[in-house]
Every structure is written in structure tokens, then in C-alpha cells.
Subunit: 290 residues, 2 copies
């Protein structure tokens, strides 16, 4: 039995077909253009397969409340042309299948949650942050997503500013120096005039970044007390997380007991940016079981 | 059928007996002295009644993981004499009843959650903060508490400092200027030399307080997307929350859509500091149903 995954990003879409063991049987990537053109490619792709359900992990914000007339829509996105797009409706009109619709980070969170279960970790809850072009987070508790009046937007909390970074105004168009405004990929250009991949880890800017990312981990820790926190996205690497763990230990100051930080603040277990695809497969299967 | 409630604070204990409609039938208060003396008073009080279960909402930190050998303990509290106290064990040794053991703020969160349900509000999740001598928070999602590796400690996240408060070092012995270090009751003495109750709301210090409390609401909003956020504790009043809502609207900047803020950021619905007692009754009854 096959299911489909749509990882809908602002730059590209990744569609995949998986079997009941969550193995990828086929995959396609294409750039995100207009909603009509892009979503038609999704439909045309899946029409080639005998899939039974689809999991969609989408850029946002999106409407996930089933009782909303706008359920299944991409809502107030700054992405040109996509505001108020009936994503689920477009797909359903041509593919009458059960669809699980959630955010990109929720999809990744679920993929990492499932991966942990498959690895026989005793895990009840997990928080997933992406630190990339944008910053966002999702949470799974006991197999369910967190969020009643909408999905989390963990990338926009405010932070204690690093003393060596006081004058940086941040890049978030909504909040200036919120988490996303301080640690998203584009902050490198703004702070040091070149992309993050060209900034060596010995540069002090990485200490500043680690201090802020550690505060995101602190928020997730103290509000959720999750079993683990996963960081993905283009800004993150294992050496960066090593710095984050050091800063995290400093600001937590032993206040609550936690698992070994090397196992608590971690990179995605699913390789090749595949967390969301795995999550989508699992969510599609979950729909079919219910 | 009767159940018991223990609201265990660092200064005083409030024990109560309630019926199946959560109505208080009897209540007693006494100061918190040594663990042995205080907990024996709890036992002696309940021995007078034919209660079937007990809900305990305790100051912390406490061990709530059932699989821990220290389950039911008050753990690393700075409260003299109480560190490593087997709270649940002491009670169970003399009263062999089902006991639900959770934090004070979780108890209050649950009481407010139940109160909302009784008022026929369609509510799935709720966050409760207390801003008093200490600062803490608890969350209920779908009738369950949040927290896998322990209970939340929402009072110790870091915040963006108010420009007019940069030099204040904060009062938290663990973190200096964390949320508790910036807005707990004792900060008034430290900032303006008198207790908060003597500081008129027109004093600028309240704007600073509101800015920080609004950041707590922002964190809860963006990480949980709850149906509502309740603020209790000695620092909070409706006029203070009016200031908090104004600051919250400014820093959120319309980023996510929310219920009317007057119904979203609210005082406890249960009057007379009774949220935790109601929560305890409901949790005791929940135990008996399970």
C-alpha cells in the first residue's frame, strides 16, 4: 500500500511516494511557482500512483483548524501569489483521498518522533526547530501536535540580547529582533556581509548565534519539558549544536535535570532533509488507521 | 462521595474536602513548618473525613515521573528542610488512597481548565502563570498536563530587556534576570524600595513589568497556541493585565490571529485563589474514574 508526501516549501516542492514501511519508492522535486501551476504538478505526479492517502507539510502560515471555513488554506504568507490559497481543496478536487495537512516543521517533528520510536527510544514528546531562511518550530506530545487556536510559531519569541550584538536590529519584517530576526540565515549577510556557509565557526558571530539558539532550546525546555529537541535547517550543523549546548548549559544553570545534552539537543536523525517526508508518510498512514 | 485537596505552598498549606460537584465542604489552612509536622497535619485533617482520593498541588520542584524512584518527592527546593521530602509516601503510609500529585501551577491550570468546561467554553488547552513571590507556569492540553521529563518551569526563560530597565540585575538566585528574576513580587522592593501593592499603576515600573509579562504570554502563545492564558498570583490584577494586553498586542504585531485579548489573557475564573483546590478535586475524581 502506497501513500504520498508533499513537502511544500517557499522555494521548492518535494513530492514522494512511500510504502507502508515508510520507504521512499519515488520522489520528485520542482520549484515553487504560482499556486495553480505548482499544485497541478503535485496532482499530476500523484495521479501516476495508486496512493491511498497524502501527508502535506507546508510552509505557512496555514489554517489547520478543521472547523474553519479556511481549513486547508495557506493564509497570510508574504510569498507572492500564495496568500489565501486553498491548498487542500485544490488537491482534493482532483484526488479524492484522505489528506493530513500540517506545517513543514510539524511534519519534520513528526518524522523525527516516528524515527525515535522506530529506534526503540522511549519517547513521549519532541520539539523540532528549523533554523534556515526562516525559523519555526513544531511539537509532538504523545503522538499529537501542539496547538489549539492554530499551529505554533516558535520562531518569533523575543530574546535576551547578547551584549556584543546590542546594535543589530534584526531582520524579521514583523518583529525586528525576534528569534527569526536574530538567527535566520539572512542575518549573516546583514551582520558580516557574507553567507553563513562562508563564516568560519571561529568567528564570534557564531557565539552570538549559539547564545540565541540556546534560548530557543531553553524556552522549549521550560515550557514543554520534552524528551528531546531537534534542530534542523541550513544554519545548523553538529559543530554549531556543540556551541549551542555549551550556551544552553550556562543559561539553564542546572535548574532542571535533563537527559545528557548530546542526546537532548540534536540534529535530525533522518538524513538528507528527509524528516518531513517520513513524517508525511506516517501521518498519511495514521489517517488510514483512524 | 468526598475527595481531598492539598494546596501545598512554601508559606502555607490549604487542605480542603470537596463533593463530587467540586464544592468545598470543609477547609483548613496552616503554616508550612517542617515536613514531618506539616504533612502529619495533612494526614490528621483528612482522617476526619471519608474521602476516596486526594489531589495534591505542591510547590516544587517535585518529581512527577511515575517511573522514578523519587516519584512523589519534593526534590531540590531551596525551602529549608524540604529538600528530598517524600510527600506522597508520607501521606500514603497513613492514608491508603489514590493520590494525584502535581505542581501548584498545574493544579491551578487544571482548575481553570475545568472551570472553563463547566462554563461551556469550547476549550482544548490552557496555560496558567502565577506571578507572585515566585513565577511559574503550567499547561493543560486536551485534559492532560504538559511535560515528559518533568514539569514545566516557565518562570525561568530569558527575556528581551526593557530599555528603561537595562541596569536592573534581577532577583533570581539561579538566573538573575530571567522572567522570575524580573517580575516576581520581590522585584518591587529591589527596584523602587517598597512592595508592589504600594506602587501605583501610574508608576513607570508597571510598564516595565507589563512588557515582561507580555513576553511570557508571547512565549506561551507562539509555543502552545492555547485557547487562553490565565495569570494569577499577587502581582496580577485586572488593571495590570490591561497593560499586559497592550504590550502583548505591540510585540505580537498581528503575527497570528487570536481570540479577543480580553478573553485570551485573563485573570482566574475561580475566585478566592481557589483554582488549585478546584483542580485538585477534579484530578482526584479523574483518578477515581480511571
Amino acid at each position: 500500500m502506497l501513500v504520498g508526501s508533499v513537502e511544500a516549501g517557499g522555494t521548492k516542492f518535494v513530492c514522494a511516494v512511500g510504502d507502508e514501511d515508510y520507504r521512499i519508492q519515488d520522489q520528485i522535486k520542482f520549484p515553487t511557482t504560482t499556486p495553480k501551476e505548482t499544485l497541478q504538478k503535485v496532482v499530476d505526479y500523484f495521479l501516476q500512483f495508486d496512493i491511498k492517502a497524502i501527508g502535506i507539510a507546508s510552509f505557512g502560515p496555514i489554517e489547520i483548524r478543521k472547523n474553519s471555513p479556511k481549513y486547508g488554506y495557506v493564509t497570510k504568507t508574504p510569498k507572492p501569489g500564495w496568500e489565501d490559497t486553498n491548498f487542500v481543496g485544490f488537491i482534493k478536487a482532483q484526488l479524492d483521498l484522505p489528506i493530513f495537512f500540517t506545517t513543514d516543521v510539524n511534519g519534520s517533528a513528526y518524522g523525527e518522533y516516528v524515527m525515535s520510536l522506530l529506534a526503540n527510544e522511549k519517547i513521549d514528546s519532541l520539539v523540532y526547530y528549523t533554523i534556515g531562511t526562516g525559523v519555526g518550530g513544531g511539537a509532538v506530545i504523545g503522538g499529537d501536535f501542539v496547538g489549539s487556536v492554530g499551529h505554533p510559531e516558535m520562531g518569533h519569541t523575543l530574546l535576551k540580547r547578547h551584549p556584543d550584538d546590542i546594535d543589530f536590529t534584526g531582520v524579521c519584517p514583523f518583529h525586528g529582533d525576534c528569534l527569526e530576526g536574530l538567527v535566520s540565515g539572512p542575518t549573516f549577510e546583514k551582520r558580516v556581509g557574507r553567507p553563513g556557509k562562508d563564516v568560519p565557526l571561529t568567528d564570534h558571530v557564531w557565539d552570538v548565534m549559539a547564545y540565541y539558539i540556546a534560548q530557543a532550546a531553553l524556552q522549549a525546555t521550560l515550557l514543554f519539558r520534552p524528551d528531546k529537541i531537534v534542530f534542523g535547517g541550513g544554519v545548523i550543523s553538529e559543530p554549531v549544536l556543540q556551541k549551542v549546548r555549551v550556551e544552553f548549559a550556562k543559561i539553564l544553570n542546572g535548574y532542571v535535570s535533563l537527559p545528557d545534552l548530546d542526546k537532548y539537543i540534536v540534529m535530525p536523525e533522518v538524513k538528507g532533509n528527509g524528516s518531513a517526508t517520513l513524517g508525511d508518510f506516517a501521518l498519511a498512514n495514521k489517517l488510514l488507521r483512524e
